[in-house]
Symmetry: D2
Subunit: 338 residues, 4 copies
């Protein structure tokens, strides 16, 4: 890291900072400019608590040089990770499509939708048994009953399952039913929940927080990985901006940025990112062409009766059409789609 001293820093203050750094095990290299002095400090700040340097007299700012994440970084592991979910590989040449309704409402509708999305080409079935809803008066999910319906849909369709967990107390239960445990955007910095899924070993779909930076997102992945679970799939789902034409603003540039700095696969959720089914087709193609490893798409047999997020759900025929249109796009960028 680099310590920038203020213009008025005295020689004594500079010496004190150097001494403190040295005590902490850093090697220091002061550079005396005409106006300012900066001190280069070599050592691993990840293991140290160095912020307090910034409170020492004469210090203007600290500039970190090393990235704060390690296990998630491409510097550590240069080969892209492929997450194997019972034979469905995420991060390889095949585009992985996860589809299904936002919430599980009843068995018939859910299984009916599952069959349709599988027939259209989705390999992983999504569905929410525990729903984090903004309003306490909104439908909160069927809980374990929902998990059972999902398990039955897996039996019927042969698909893999992904579903969200929202409470540390439920991790074991949810993990016992699902193939991928989802951490939702609102829980991206629920560090206890991250640790808990880190201990479960199930693949984790880690959604980006509503206003999380890419660095914070990778630090959340690092929490999971630090517990020993390296099977992380990142999911871009739109960030909060001033624009109101869409519910969130999909950050498509996160795809090449993640590919540069991390080895983890990244998929995109255009349904939550935009909040409107009308934009899902265009942005799904855009995400794949930009380099996403997969998609998470809401599909509902009858969006008009959905208990949750109907306005962003595709009907099965529109989803099937999208899958047809996606195939040439995937091939145009050297990927495949079943």
């Amino acid at each position: 890291m680099i310590i920038v001293m203020s213009n008025s820093a005295t020689r004594e203050q500079i010496d004190n900072v150097e001494k403190k750094l040295s005590d902490l095990g850093f090697r220091t290299h002061p550079i005396f400019g005409e106006i300012k002095t900066v001190i280069g400090a070599i050592g691993d700040k990840r293991l140290l608590n160095t912020h307090f340097i910034s409170t020492m007299p004469g210090v203007e700012a600290i500039v970190p040089i090393m990235k704060p994440y390690k296990l998630a970084s491409r510097e550590l592991k240069q080969v892209s990770s492929i997450i194997d979910v019972g034979g469905v590989r995420i991060g390889g040449s095949e585009i992985a499509v996860m589809a299904g309704p936002c919430a599980i409402e009843n068995k018939e509708t859910f299984i009916e939708t599952a069959i349709k999305v599988r027939d259209a080409g989705a390999r992983i079935l999504r569905g929410g048994a525990y729903k984090p809803r903004t309003s306490p008066y909104a439908f909160q999910g069927l809980e374990e009953e929902g998990l059972k319906i999902m398990a039955e849909a897996r039996n019927v369709t042969g698909m893999k399952l992904v579903t969200e967990v929202v409470d540390t107390r439920d991790v074991e239960l949810v993990a016992s039913y699902t193939d991928i445990v989802q951490i939702g955007a609102r829980n991206m910095q629920n560090f206890r929940l991250l640790k808990e899924v880190g201990m479960s070993k199930k693949p984790v779909l880690l959604k980006r927080g509503l206003a999380a930076t890419i660095e914070e997102w990778l630090m959340a992945a690092e929490y999971v990985m630090a517990e020993g679970n390296l099977n992380i799939i990142l999911c871009e789902r739109g960030i909060r901006t001033y624009e109101t034409a869409t519910r969130n603003t999909i950050d498509m540039s996160a795809i090449p940025v993640i590919k540069e700095v991390s080895h983890l696969p990244i998929i995109v959720d255009p349904s939550h990112a935009t909040g409107s089914w009308k934009y899902v087709n265009a942005l799904s193609k855009g995400a794949v062409a930009t380099g996403a490893d997969g998609l998470l798409i809401e599909v509902h047999s009858d969006p008009c009766t959905a208990l949750c997020d109907g306005q962003q759900s595709l009907r099965p025929p529109k989803f099937a059409q999208l899958m047809q249109e996606l195939k040439p796009v995937a091939e145009a960028v050297g990927r495949t789609l079943k």
Copy 2:
């Protein structure tokens, strides 16, 4: 709510929407303009799941008219709430100051700091026993050991305690030690945690989420209140914006907005909002003059050795000076400070 039909909506589509609304118990009032038709729908959308109306053919948009929160709204309760924390009243004419270090590091330092902030006029002692840290490699708090130190500091100083809880499994334990349970910014939409503290009856300090709207913040309060716990103190702690000169951007206008739409008291945390002790003095005075009911301020005896957030902590003498300077500001706006 108002349903806005698209310009090309057919009469049949309009009739279908009206019928659906009517089936759901709404009274409808269509208004036929020259270009557009809008339908006024009277009824309580809070108890209904009406979003799917937006997916019906011909519907362009839904405009909610009623606010989604109820128990937190000033419409329901016109008199401002005063939260009584063992005799310290928050929301009344006296400005409530909560102060102390970010994390509890050891007993001696903590109690020493506690005595100093009490002597300077703070009535409530803050301290973190469970720390939600961005990095898994950073100090995570002393946990129950920290709670015990806080309890001892209460005995010594006679102050009330506020500390954060980060896991549903710890709510009972934390509540057994503290006087106010804090929900941190990163957990503002951890709905399970909100419900759990809603059942505990202890006063709750509810920090605004990093990128939460005022409406979402009040909906988080509603979650707690819906479980029967009405003792909520809101805490503005800065929101995420593009500006990097401060760590977050303090949203001072949230104070008059909250005062208009809610009866709950609101305090301000200038330490986290700015990330720098240099700005705490100015913004503390600004917050009180704007109408805040209190302040949450980080104070540390030796910020240079703090294990957490040292750069935003005031030293006790600067805190004592701030308290002196705050008094005339409080009085200038008709408030008092002990």
Copy 3:
């Protein structure tokens, strides 16, 4: 528009608002709910100054129903506009690629780059003769000398030209040299400049403002169109968000949103949006797959000596490779690329 009355509005206040609206030529339709009254007002608010209604006693909010833009809206013109720039058509089935250096630095380099981008398939040559730079101490462009170099490059290559104008006093001069006049992000709400280019009849490339909503962007187009110049090409160039991994955040969802609400073509500038040449390839493909009508890409023969924005410029060989890779993507979504 809809006027929402506050819960405590009196009957007299409601009557006053209705009377005022009626005086202004609106037809009114009050809807009396159990808690609130709302008033539907039919008439063209675009020609009226109705905001003051919001200051009348008892009024809580005004909800506009009609979009504020008219000439730019798809409601007015349902067929997508194709802008003809001397035979190069923007908005049709062919993807239009504009490429070249950020600033014109000298004739030789510029013409050399022009030939290379033309050979790679670009039909329109970009170059800055007037540069809006954040610092007064940075290179500000060659001004008319730069325009002359551009004109010569047009003679040599047969390409069309696009260049920015930054001052009302220069519009006539710039328009006399270029084929497309660019309005930069920082001038998107320089309304006098918009009016001036509106009077010039040259096609206008209208970049989205740094933090402009899609609605404000279309209102800027409306300014130009209201002067009689309907030849607008919109250009998404990234918006300002809290994320710092890229210089701006490319708003890819603006593409389908614009396609839905407006008939104007939209192109994407991945170079300015990301600030890094490393991300241009991925996002160019993503933009085309999402439905963009074209791209604006910075190319520089020797980015290391560029006087402006070198870090976001592709070298000609990388640009040629991108053009090759773009072709199958364009075809996958039913478009062509020369």
Copy 4:
């Protein structure tokens, strides 16, 4: 500045960067860490075009150490500037209040409002003769006719005038009438306009751009100052964020930040920042207590008939009441109010 080399940078790449820097007149100090090498470069980057260093092979990032503004910085001038506007001093111990209607609509109303705000204690009269309006169909101002009315109001009241200029072609004319030339938020990066007012020598009220960082704002001041006009008054008017409860989000922390890094005075415009007269009282007091040097407040005799921004205008009696309430707040922080 600091050049951060990538982990995989070769010795040759490091040498090349050092050589390039050396050729440009920088002294270089490489620091070889275990994983990374960084190069400290001493010299004035303000006068050089160093961004291209970032495109050299092996370079990961450039970290600027020096601030890009110079004339506006407190490093250059440690004493706070006081701008003298014909005897009204801005930036001294007295709080300067500028008040008046958004737009000048007719002589009688304007002069009537002027007299009332003067009697309440405002020393400077605001009014818009040229209005930058989002819609081309909205009232655009009375232009020179409006300036004449302002001049007459000055004669009647003895106040000083502040009014906006929106076009380089009008600077001379506007400056000939007014005492302070205002640059509006939308023109904060209209660099030609900044240069033009820089040449006029009239005091300049420089509003912060809608989404401008504090650094960009000071760079805009630098543009004006670089032309020789050092009489800049900064005006915080709210920034664009995701929050919609207020029109913009007032960035109160900009006050202490500006006071730290610049010698220029800063005032606050709570009317535009919030978009609602209801919040003006609270935030005016908050701004003064935080350390603002003055306020810019919209006052209109009859907001219900205002042609512009009526909803954010205070009526004269509410403004007079605010001035009364402000006095003790100003005194509480050691300032005065006439």
